[in-house]
Symmetry: C2
Subunit: 343 residues, 2 copies
């Protein structure tokens, strides 16, 4: 492989420079992505391996990142379980019949990844082939709690009160589905490794909706199960629980992930102090809104972030997905600032 | 005063039992509130002292809380500065012309509370009179950063990217407006004390949208200025920065507030450990979603929370506003659980 900086950093091995990629790097901020999006709607892009592969490769070529991440969506898993999903402009993803009755839970199908999610695996094969060793490709999935909360809410939510209501009213139903999801997600990630992914990331995007008691009971154990299954695939595993920075130590210790994602709300020096290099690699965490700044300020803040994380066991990234109205030149300035640091 | 438990707890004085109130206690979960709301829209209720006073008193009578809080909205301050506000069902509050150009900022008026916000002061006078010493009444305002972010976004937001863009693109404009807001909010709170409020709460509802650097530069200094002005009115001041629990120590030290609010994401024992009783009183923090549980479970979790905070210097509350679909009986169960604890 021409550039394996990302994989070495995941394993806390020495690197000549810190690797960098950007969450949602294959996305709407890129005119070249929007050009593809004009020809096909979001879910068609996700389900068409050639289109998914095309936009997956764009940021490698246009922004110069050190890793690709397969273009997909965390909600393809509940969709494969039988839930009807749509993604509309301005509305975002939506399940038309969110889970509300015990019958809704029982009707959910199990998922054989090669079957129900074969299009993602095919996209990974294409990407791996077309990258031809230039940079590694990352596979990903949503963590069980995040999937469950979407499946119950139907869409994003401020309070996640439908999903959290289930946790107090019918905890056994919640645990049953979370256990199923951990198994399905874990198997799906192993299949992604077999199809060509060289590392995996689990997104527990709504972990911040849970306080300590609920997080420890309903999120962390199932995230850990999924990580453990995923790690059996051999590649390094990254976990990201935005909005739950109080739990960094527990996330690292319980999941046994190779890399812990750090959100933009967390001070990088504090993250490194709480999770020492001897224990785990870290990924993050520039505030996506700081990419609105002019390139000299982006450069200054990126270098300060890199100083705080240190040279080893760090993968530079934003602390959340890149915003759709970010100028591509500013994304390039971020990537360049990482790649020139201390050289 | 018949029941001054709340005021004594704010000052960390001995109390016979822990006082309790509920954020948004005068709200949609109460059928008696909805009956008033049928006769007048939200902003008419806010601007009509008799209606505001009526719903302010409802939870004292119906739920048995140990403090009233004036029924109002944090956005009345920008409205008094000249911004056009509407509050529609299902949409929430919205400014029709959010601040976008330097001209928008310059057109903002200063506020003389007795003039532009006289209706809130009149409502406080009515409430104080009708309470007749049964329980104290709390006044409140939004903190400068939270007001600025609403004024720029126009409405609630997931990323607050318009407001945060200003912080990197035009920090001087942001600082100028934040300084004005700190002054206006501080004066407004002092006026509320003169009109009858016996304690004050500052809500920095969107502080969680800021990472450490931005929080320290754009939120905390102006929150502190507003607290210092407000404290000159003589009453205890509560600050609440939900989603910023990483900053609890700084919030207590910098603002000098009498009471620090604790959100539901924070472990109460940890909050008490980080902010010792010798320094500050704490308020919070049951997860509002836990009020969906049956009363015995509410009671159990409330007692665990009270055990963790301890008997002195604690005001029981939720860790966020009560949700509109909470059964009133469950709100009563929470209040009763506090009032019976260790008795």
């Amino acid at each position: 492989m021409a550039n394996d900086l990302f994989l070495r950093a995941c394993r806390r091995q020495p690197v000549e420079r810190t690797p960098v990629w950007i969450m949602r790097q294959a996305g709407r901020y890129l005119p070249e992505y929007r050009a593809v999006r004009q020809r096909a709607d979001f879910l068609t892009m996700v389900r068409t391996p050639e289109l998914a592969a095309e936009v997956t490769l764009q940021p490698v070529e246009l922004i110069g990142v050190d890793a690709a991440i397969i273009f997909s969506d965390i909600l393809v898993v509940p969709q494969a379980m039988g839930m009807r999903l749509s993604v509309e402009d301005g509305v975002g993803p939506r399940f038309h019949q969110p889970l509300r009755t015990p019958g809704d839970f029982e009707r959910l199908r199990d998922v054989i990844p090669e079957d129900g999610l074969g299009y993602v695996l095919e996209a990974l094969r294409l990407v791996r082939q077309e990258l031809n060793g230039r940079v590694p490709v990352i596979g990903f999935a949503g963590a069980p709690w995040t999937l469950l909360s979407y499946m119950i809410e139907g869409t994003g939510s401020k309070s996640f009160s439908h999903a959290k209501r289930l946790l107090v009213e019918a905890p056994t139903m919640a645990h049953d589905l979370l256990a199923r999801l951990a198994q399905i997600v874990g198997n799906y990630l192993v299949s992604q490794m077999k199809a060509g992914a060289q590392a995996l990331q689990l997104f527990d995007s709504w972990s911040g909706a849970l306080g300590p008691r609920d997080f420890r009971e309903f999120a962390l154990p199932y995230l850990s199960q999924a990580v453990q299954l995923a790690r059996s695939g051999g590649g390094p595993v990254i976990v990201f629980c935005p909005g739950s920075n109080w739990a960094l130590e527990e996330i690292a210790a319980e999941t046994g992930a190779d890399v812990v994602g750090v959100d933009w709300q967390t001070d990088p020096a504090e993250a490194r102090r709480r999770l020492p290099l001897s224990q785990v690699a870290l990924q993050g965490n520039l505030d996506p809104c700081w990419l609105y700044a002019e390139p000299p300020l982006i450069r200054e803040r990126t270098h300060q972030m890199l100083d705080a994380f240190g040279e080893r066991g760090h993968i530079a990234n934003l602390g959340h997905g890149i915003l759709p109205d970010t100028p591509p030149a500013h994304a390039r300035a971020f990537v360049a600032a990482v790649q020139e640091w201390r050289r």
